[in-house]
Symmetry: C2
């Protein structure tokens, strides 16, 4: 039970939350004594880009393949256009490593406040996002740049392989949860090709999961349901863009955008999966030592589950939840603690395990 | 001051809410005596399709061009795939008539309940949606249908003309409102062509509106802001798909999805504009006489403003708001009235004008 993890803190508060998380996970491994874990620092990000002209090394995919998993911080810097930095680093990993399932649990979390008065029983959703194609396929271009007749396109590409594998993954995810409900989100009334393929594949794959109750919903109507009937939702699956939007919305509705984790999985396990907080590089608070590390703690717990340390993961989450419930929170959640204060409190809880 | 309006009730409850609205608007015209209005019934919709094989007549664009405006109900039927019915009727009008500005006011409305406890000062937003291109350009296709290597594409098409005209319209809309704030929504971190064009055009057009305060926001982050800081928002502009999603979300957050109106405008006034409730055909309640007509009343008020009867429009909205505030509401808003009950109550208010 010995793991090698690539640590890619990236930009902004990425560095702060990843180093906070390494402290906590190393403490956990040492205290429990049931597994060993090594984090190796990889310096990719905007600084690296400024020095080398690239966000990652030339052999970056091979480099990552040497590890059991990747713990990622954030990417993006005020002085580089976002489409350069994101395609240079994060999106250069998700697609090429075929991390096709982006999984985002969203639930009301200790220390956070749910802003919805319709969520009387709290929120407990599992969001599954197609992470390798669709609107993020990277196709499209611009012609006649600057002319009145300029045309720019963004081409969403859906393959049957791509849709089938994420659909199957989503049905399996729904099956593993107590309520066994799945909502397939598309926009097949206005988009007649890839979205209709999604509908067709959903209907076919559903035949293999008679124990999962599923329905279809248009992405616009889904936002209404999330607001008005949060209790009717369990697992959701949708395209790269639709779930990008719905997962931010979900975290906001649960009141937990500051603590939201995300797993970028290759379910075939041919490649290492990548775990990252949903928040970004947040340059406005970078260097102040007040970044909220909880989303990265939670992402690390998801990573531990993925590599096979389920018990350690649930112990870690227990510690984190106790600290949050005790009100040891960073300013974004209305607390007065700094990042290291939260780290120390979680380490103290870990010591008690 | 005499107007000819094409009435296209379409499918499902469309028929019920449009006929309710005609009663109210005719009463208003008669009572005020300041303008004349004629509604002419056009039978397009799923029944028409079943009889003729088309959702609209062959010369439908010329037919519509004879009117001062179009009052539209809904389209969509359980026995026809949505992408057939919608492209057959509604989307066959929006694009070809160049109704490029879809305008959706959203505000906390008498009789509705806002589910957000962050919206302490209520919600008052103006949503502007590009309505003629982008993700709804209708391009794309499927190859190798049914094979494992099947590929389906949806091509979003953005033209400089299309982006500039909606941006200018949005800045003008923002300028006409007391707070003069505009948020331009894009997704230019992951979409590098059309979305970057949006960013560039926004920056250029903004130069002509020094009195408007504007900012940019990614569509995913915008959902978070709508939930967490609703008071920071005034006017929003975005693409066809992004604003389709955000406008449903906005109405849900304001608690007013049942009353949400929508204007499909040709700001050049070469073509008649189309006004419709945001809700759809709702076959589950069709024929029961309980459809909520308020969204269509409000849409008709927006139509009156557009054709030049601003005073009549504000009087109509006053009557509708008084009826809603008095609790005369359909079941979707928790009331016990039927459609005709709401119509009668509004007509009574109109008589008092
Ligand atoms: C940073 C950005 C490219 C990314 C995305 O849009 O996928 C982020 O919003 C996310 O949700 O992980
Ligand atoms: C009916 C449908 C095609 C339409 C859309 O997606 O534009 C609707 O959702 C709307 O918002 O007007």
């Amino acid at each position: 039970n010995s793991y090698r993890i690539a640590s890619v803190p990236g930009d902004g508060i990425g560095t702060e939350v990843v180093s906070a998380t390494i402290q906590v996970v190393e403490k956990l491994a040492k205290t429990l004594g049931t597994f060993k874990i090594d984090f190796e620092h990889i310096p990719w990000g905007t600084e690296y880009y400024k020095q080398t002209g690239r966000y990652v090394s030339e052999d970056y995919l091979d480099t990552l393949r040497k590890y059991d998993a990747v713990l990622f911080g954030a990417v993006g810097s005020p002085d580089v256009p976002d489409h350069i930095s994101l395609w240079g680093l994060l999106l250069a990993i998700r697609g090429p490593l075929q991390l096709y399932a982006n999984v985002r649990p969203v639930r009301t979390f200790p220390g956070t406040k749910c802003p919805l008065n319709t969520a009387t029983d709290g929120i407990d959703w599992m969001l599954v996002r197609e992470n390798s194609e669709g609107e993020y396929a990277g196709q499209g271009g611009r012609s006649h740049v600057g002319q009145q007749w300029e045309v720019a396109t963004e081409v969403a590409v859906f393959t049957r392989v791509g849709v089938e594998r994420i659909m199957r993954f989503a049905f399996e995810t729904a099956r593993s949860r107590p309520r066994k409900l799945l909502t397939v989100v598309t926009k097949s009334n206005s988009m007649r090709n890839g979205m209709v393929l999604w509908d067709e594949v959903a209907a076919t794959v559903a035949n293999d999961f008679p124990d999962v109750k599923w329905d279809k919903m248009l992405v616009d109507a889904m936002t209404v349901r999330m607001v008005a009937k949060p209790g009717s939702i369990d697992t959701i699956v949708g395209t790269n863009l639709h779930m990008d939007i719905l997962s931010d919305l979900a975290a906001a509705l649960a009141g937990s955008i500051g603590v939201a984790p995300s797993s970028n999985l290759d379910p075939t396990r041919k490649n290492p999966s990548l775990f990252e907080p949903v928040h970004g590089s947040a340059f406005d608070i970078t260097g102040k030592g007040v970044a909220n590390p909880v989303a990265t703690f939670w992402s690390a717990a998801e990573m531990l589950i993925w590599i096979g340390e389920k018990d350690a993961a649930s112990k870690l989450m227990g510690c984190v939840e106790r600290v949050c419930a005790a009100g040891i929170l960073t300013p974004d959640l209305g607390g007065t603690s700094d990042t290291q204060g939260v780290v120390d409190a979680v380490c103290l809880e870990v010591e008690k395990l």
